[in-house]
């Protein structure tokens, strides 16, 4: 099962503002919960998300424990050229995931 879901329109008109939706499967453990023995459950969250288009960064986010599990982020961009969006999630315990999506601009 893929851990990331990306929703990018396949085609767009030049200059159109398009919406990009991303969902990453992750527990986002806050580090403020504890077990019945009183041990704190260590923090395990995604700390950073970024989106690049043809190598140039268009959106970036810092995430905190206040972000709900399975972080869902939507944002916008201007479709000027055809190309490839690259998404990257980085988190605690060496978590690193990437995904990509292509768009054709007419």
């Amino acid at each position: 099962m893929p851990s990331a879901l990306i929703n990018v329109p396949r085609h767009a008109k030049r200059g159109e503002i398009i919406e990009i939706k991303t969902l990453m499967s992750h527990i986002m453990e806050t580090g403020y919960r504890h077990t019945a023995n009183g041990d704190v459950v260590p923090r395990d969250i995604i700390t950073s998300f970024s989106c690049r288009f043809n190598g140039a960064e268009i959106f970036r986010a810092d995430l905190f424990p206040a972000v709900a599990a399975n972080p869902f982020i939507t944002f916008f961009t201007v479709a000027n050229d055809s190309g490839k969006f690259e998404f990257e999630w980085i988190g605690d315990k060496g978590f690193a995931e990437t995904a990509s999506a292509s768009i054709t601009v007419e």
């Binding site: 077990t35 268009i58 206040a66 972000v67 709900a68």
Partner: protein, 159 residues
């Protein structure tokens, strides 16, 4: 006799309730720089430094009444043309009563097209949420909204 007592009591409570509502609304709107917990203030200072933060331009969409604090939909947007000369550099969202004051920092470029981001957040209590935007000309704009949470996100839950 007894019936009459009840009706006056009910009427009195109704009047007191509406008076409380009327009284609380101006108290919220007239105090944009209301004293907030120290952690929230210091988190905001970390972002804006000593700059003046003006109210306006930013729009924060949150449900006013939240049933489940574990996943609360949030949309924050800033009115800006988003051209290379004039765009929103970043939006920072803070809370008052979660264990940590930060909710998210969102960074945009001129290619973002629209300064708007939607996500889902956790809220541990009924509280005030503050959003601050940094524009490309160096100015800061903010807005805040109050949210009532009926089931809090379980930050100290035993599992």
């Amino acid at each position: 006799m007894r019936k009459q007592d009840q009706s006056t009591r009910r009427r009195f409570l109704g009047l007191a309730g509406s008076a409380a509502v009327l009284g609380s609304v101006p108290a919220v709107t007239l105090r944009p720089a209301e004293a907030t917990p120290a952690t929230l203030a210091s988190a905001i200072r970390n972002v804006v430094g000593g700059a003046v933060v003006r109210t306006g331009k930013v729009k924060l969409d949150l449900p006013p009444l939240v049933e489940n604090g574990n996943t609360v939909p949030m949309t924050v947007s800033v009115s800006s043309p988003m051209t290379p000369d004039e765009y929103v550099k970043s939006i920072h969202v803070f809370n008052e009563k979660n264990p940590q004051p930060n909710i998210g920092n969102y960074y945009f470029g001129p290619l973002a097209g629209r300064a708007q981001v939607s996500t889902r957040i956790r809220l541990a209590d009924s509280q005030k949420i503050v959003a601050i935007a940094r524009l490309s000309d160096g100015s800061f704009w903010s807005t805040s909204t109050d949210v009532v949470v009926t089931l809090a996100a379980c930050t100290d839950e035993v599992i």
